[in-house]
Symmetry: C2
């Protein structure tokens, strides 16, 4: 497992590694207010559904610290305003909204005469709890998921659902790290266009962990499966509907279709905070679309004629019927998901 600190609370600020510069440059940003945190989330300096939940929690703390409220009423106002603002940074990953709701609900505990400094401490403690719980959740996901990879020669993953995406060893990659403790196999990492999280982050994480890695272009995954090089696909998720439909980085849905065609089991790994039981199916999950320049240029080089129009969805939805199992902190959920997801929430 890698030792890089994706996000940390310094006592008065949040320190995070700028993931847009990896692996070429290891630069830590000190985030001192919620505006800077909003920008960091929007620009994917911090990314991965669980990690942006943690980041948003600290964003609310920073807003309150900066507002220097004199009263609990003023503190609540500043916190709620910041929470609503941070919720606009990215639309698809539900962990963001889940973490902000947790921060909001702490406010309800504050009596009007609670010393403001105590209230601030409680808010920071809540954000730190979100982070610590995520770390533990990742470990549990790894332990529950590792048996799924028993005997594989290879595993394929998409985007980055690793240490950089969470406060722990990751979701999909936690499963891989845990399985790799007692077995040798090769991980095929989709580069994940347009922002190349697979090339830049996953292949870096895996190599740092000493795991045999092959980087491929997204469109080579079909060949990897056809040749029998992998016996499982495992990915993270940004939002999972009540029926098990799972939104994740663009390219995940076609991957699930191709895996089904080649009879390779397709797994999703995600904490319960990624589930959104209020949505009946994936059709209701809002899909973020991003700017043209992420496709038309790279590293300052234009790769398409200037002004070329694009279609740039950032996520798609793997249909529940193509998912062999969803690895959570309470165990591996199996179809029918409507039932197993309900049960998982009861168990929590």
């Amino acid at each position: 497992m890698m030792t890089v600190k994706t996000i940390e609370w310094t006592g008065s600020a949040a320190r995070l590694i700028d993931q847009t510069l990896l692996p070429g440059k290891t630069k830590y940003l000190v985030i001192r207010d919620d505006k800077a945190m909003w920008e960091a989330i929007k620009m994917l300096r911090v990314r991965g559904a669980p990690a942006i939940g943690v980041a948003a929690g600290y964003g609310v703390c920073l807003a309150v610290l900066k507002a220097k409220p004199k009263t609990i009423a003023a503190l609540k106002k500043a916190a709620l305003k910041s929470s609503a603002y941070l919720a606009t940074s990215r639309p698809t990953a539900v962990n963001l909204f889940w973490a902000l709701k947790r921060m909001d609900s702490v406010l309800d505990l504050f009596a009007p005469d609670l010393p403001v400094s105590d209230a601030i401490d409680m808010l920071i403690a809540e954000a730190q709890s979100i982070q610590e719980e995520d770390r533990q959740t990742c470990e549990l996901i790894g332990q529950h998921g590792a048996p799924l990879l028993k005997g594989v020669k290879g595993v394929l993953t998409h985007c980055n659902a690793g240490a950089l995406a969470t406060a722990g060893p990751g979701t999909a990659l936690a499963v891989i790290y845990e399985a790799a403790k007692s077995a040798k196999f090769t991980v095929y990492a989709d580069e994940t266009r347009p922002l190349l999280q697979g090339a830049r982050l996953t292949s870096w994480e895996l190599q740092q962990a000493g795991i045999d890695t092959r980087l491929i272009c997204d469109n080579m995954a079909g060949m990897v499966m056809q040749r029998g090089l992998v016996q499982a696909v495992i990915v993270g998720a940004d939002r999972i509907a009540a029926n098990g439909d799972a939104a994740n980085k663009i390219g995940t849905m076609p991957l699930s279709i191709v895996a089904s065609y080649y009879k390779v089991p397709f797994y999703v790994a995600a904490p319960l905070s990624t589930f959104d039981p209020s949505l009946k199916s994936g059709a209701e999950i809002p899909i973020e679309e991003r700017g043209a320049e992420e496709i038309t240029s790279f590293g300052g080089t234009n790769v398409a004629p200037k002004g070329t129009p694009v279609f740039a969805p950032a996520f798609d939805v793997a249909p529940a019927k193509l998912i062999a199992g969803i690895v959570t902190e309470v165990g591996v959920l199996r179809a029918p998901y409507t039932k197993s997801i309900k049960e998982a929430f009861r168990k929590r």
Copy 2:
């Protein structure tokens, strides 16, 4: 249709546009011997199955011109040596071998006392015939295929099977150009990693032709189909086996699987020179693998940690059972392909 000259014979050399520099830079290369032609094919300066057939034909002419043979025997020796050498430039596209075989068979027509200059003229004439026939073939493919796109709102294509890949308006793009003469629709162009022929070449060609274009990353094609934005997929091919299995740029096979899942008809457009009836199925088609740096860096920027191992197949094979039709110069072939391909060769 665009006006760029992909490849031209100048009388003593071959002039071709360096496609690795497009669209940023329009640079023409003057190729004066078969070594330079081998390099141009290998490095994809000239690419596209039909275009590399044409290029190889001229390569043999250049070798013979350079050898300055005094006798027909010496000329034949130089031509056969060059032909065998050029055949090693790229392994998958069969048009290369087909064109070289045509050049070789011209040699059989030479009587020992034929003046050498006449023999050279005949070789050049053969290479020019290959080019002119390809131009006509492209036009016919366009005419036969256009009715398949009747009433579509959108079409999706992969890689570049256009004017830059052939001596005419292309194969898949010939169909699109012909259909666009009498209808308006949007073409979704896969960027086509790793070498971005879709971003650099197809989106450029289509925009020059005034066709409404959306550039997408390869992994967004699933979403385009799921949203009903296209009613057809059409691609070129590099080699088609006797049973209709079609090798084409990496990413084509998963595209055919996803198209089948969303019930979008998947068409292949290719001249008969792309068929290899000596191969029973796609499993026998040799698949070129290319260097790591095409994946690990882009535009001079490293996108993955140094030394990251890759798996880099350049082609894959769409299974015949997922192909709704193969558009050729003699008409649209339909399943069962073993039968319709045999009939097409009889008609030729």
